[in-house]
Every structure is written in C-alpha cells, then in structure tokens.
C-alpha cells in the first residue's frame, strides 16, 4: 500500500491547483496576491541563479516530502530577476515559476516580465537559459511562445 501524502508520481491535479484562478485570496487582501516569492537584482548570470534556486527548491521540497508527507503540499516558488542595465525598453525582467510535479520532478516556467522582447530577451534565452538546461538531465525542452505580455 502506498504511504499517504505526496505521491511519488507526477500528479496533474496538483499542478492544476496552482492556477491563479483558484487563488481567491485577492478578494480579501485587495490587490496583493499572497505568494512566496523572491525578487532581486543580480550580477550572476540568470541561468546560474535559476538553476541554483531550482536546486534549493528541490532540496527543500524533497526534505518536506520525506519528513511530513501528510502535510507537505509541494510548492510553487516565484522568482523575479531584474536586469542591471536599462535596455531599450526598460530593465529586462525575467520571471520564473517553479512547480513540483513530483518530489523528483520540477517544472520551471520562465518568461519575460518586462523589458525588450526582440533583442534582449532572445539573447538571454539563447545565451543563458538554453545552455543552462543542457547541464542537467532535461527530458524535454520548453519552447517559448512568441507572445505579447499585456500590461493592465
């Protein structure tokens, strides 16, 4: 019989539960969406930071899953990186969401959150982010859709 708590296998219901549409907290706390997040500016290459954070997140979540499977609900970490230089359209800001699909399987979603999409983000993606995934065991590569980010 499988132990109760976090399943060892990928669970898409768990993934779905991270949708913003299910998070009703903004009804109560105004415009602040309550979530754990990290935001900082860094001189390190973004890829290094993302891979380190992903690794740390994985360690925390693995530990949580092994010590308290009943209460551990996995996690979703948000990470924002602001570029140092002001580029053509303001600072390049990259946002990453890190989900746990299973204790041994992380999904990291990276997207541009501000700044120039045409040159700077493309450069970030090809020079920093893609090479980052090649250092690790990656089962699939995420193709970034060409998408306008609409601001309110």
């Amino acid at each position: 019989m499988e132990p109760p708590g976090s399943s060892q296998r990928p669970n898409v219901f768990h993934l779905i539960s991270f949708s913003e549409g299910f998070d009703l907290s903004p009804l109560f706390v105004g415009s602040e969406r309550h979530e754990e997040g990290i935001r900082f500016a860094t001189r390190e290459p973004a890829s290094y930071v993302i891979s380190r954070v992903a690794l740390d997140a994985a360690m925390i979540l693995l530990h949580c899953a092994s010590t308290s499977p009943m209460t551990c609900s996995g996690g979703r970490f948000r990470l924002r990186l602001d570029g140092e230089e002001r580029g053509r359209k303001g600072k390049l800001t990259v946002a990453a969401n890190i989900f746990t699909m299973a204790p041994s399987m992380l999904v990291v979603a990276v997207r541009r959150d501000g700044g120039d999409a045409v040159v700077e983000y493309k450069r970030f993606y090809s020079d920093e982010l893609r090479p980052c995934t090649q250092g690790h065991h990656v089962d699939f590569v995420f193709r970034r859709p060409n998408r306008h980010v609409d601001k309110i």
Binding site: G5, R9, H14, E20, D23, S25, L27, F28, M101, A109
Partner: protein, 215 residues
Amino acid sequence: MGCVTSKNANKYTPGYEDPVVLASKTIFTVNEVEALYELFKKLSCSIIKDGLIHKEEFQLALFRNSNKKNLFADRVFDLFDIKRNGVIDFGEFVRSLSVFHPNAPESEKIAYAFRLYDLRHTGFIEREELKEMVQALLTESDLVLSDELIDTIVDKTFNQADSKGDGKIDLDEWRDYVKQNPSLIRIMTLPYLKDITMSFPSFIIHSENSETEAI
C-alpha cells in the same frame, strides 16, 4: 437602481438574505456574514453598480483585470452562481464561501473540488476534461509542452485515480484519490475567512424595529 452604500443599509442588494438565516445555514457567525456583506458590496459595485457580482467584476477582483479569462476562475464563478443566472448574489456568495472556511467539513470540500473539475457537469471527471485543464494551466504559465508529453502526464494521473478502470473518475474514486493525496484539496481552504470580521468591519447597529440604522 443605485449602488448600496453603508449609509443606506435599509436598501439591500438584490438576493440579500438575512444574516441570521445565512449564519444558521453556513459555517459563519452572524458577525462574519455581516462582514462578508461589506466585502460583497465592494465587489458587486466595482463595474456594474447593481449589487450583483458579474463575471467581469469577479475577474477584476481576482486578477486586477476585468477582461482576463481563466478556465479555473470560470469554474469557481459557475459554482458560486448556484441559481445559474449568470451573476452571484449575496446569498450565493456566503453559501459558496462557507465551503472554503478552514473549519468546513472535508467531505464538502472534496465534493466541491470534484464539481469544479467536472467541466461539463457530467457527474464524472473525464480524461478529456483533465487534459483540457492541464493545457489551460500550461498556457497560463507560458509553458509549451508537446501533445505526447501532455498525454503521458495526464494518463499517469488519470490511471492512478480511475481505480475502476472505466475511463472516467467518479466521486468515490475521487474521494479515495484525495485520501491518498490530501494536498489536492488545498485550493478549497481560504485562511482569510477566519479573520473576516477584522478585515471588513461592519458598523450595523441592530435595533428591535424594522428599520436598521447604519453609521
């Protein structure tokens, strides 16, 4: 019909129900229901000032963007709209939120989550519905995965949950599945509901006669 302000408390929003009645039918106290009414008035008059929560007002409250479409927010809205008339009135608002209270019975939460995921109201969660929800989540997160990979991860979960192997997840299978994975109903609890009287103080003074004065 103007919007209801707290100075005008003898003119209630459409679908208003007596807080004493609502408190008896839900997990909330009378004070908590009154606090929810303050919140409800705010939400229901943000765009269309008719004292009812429309979809755009719901989207505005959740996403700060009245035009933002989201499959899961749509499901929540649909379930809140108990009378199925396209808007959420105060009674529906309180009755629905009751299930999200930390102290609400787990069986209610499990059944509610099942209905949320039963996109086409068939009484079962079908594989196609699960796949559609996964795709919606991936789109929302700006993730693109191949169709084969989506099928693979959907199948893994679906086959775990569909213990009878009949191609759909019924409520019994869902209950068993949640027992093995309690975190699946974490979306069904809103800790904020415990402090609602502090977040939305209500200044209604109750009097014996039918007219209620508000400060």
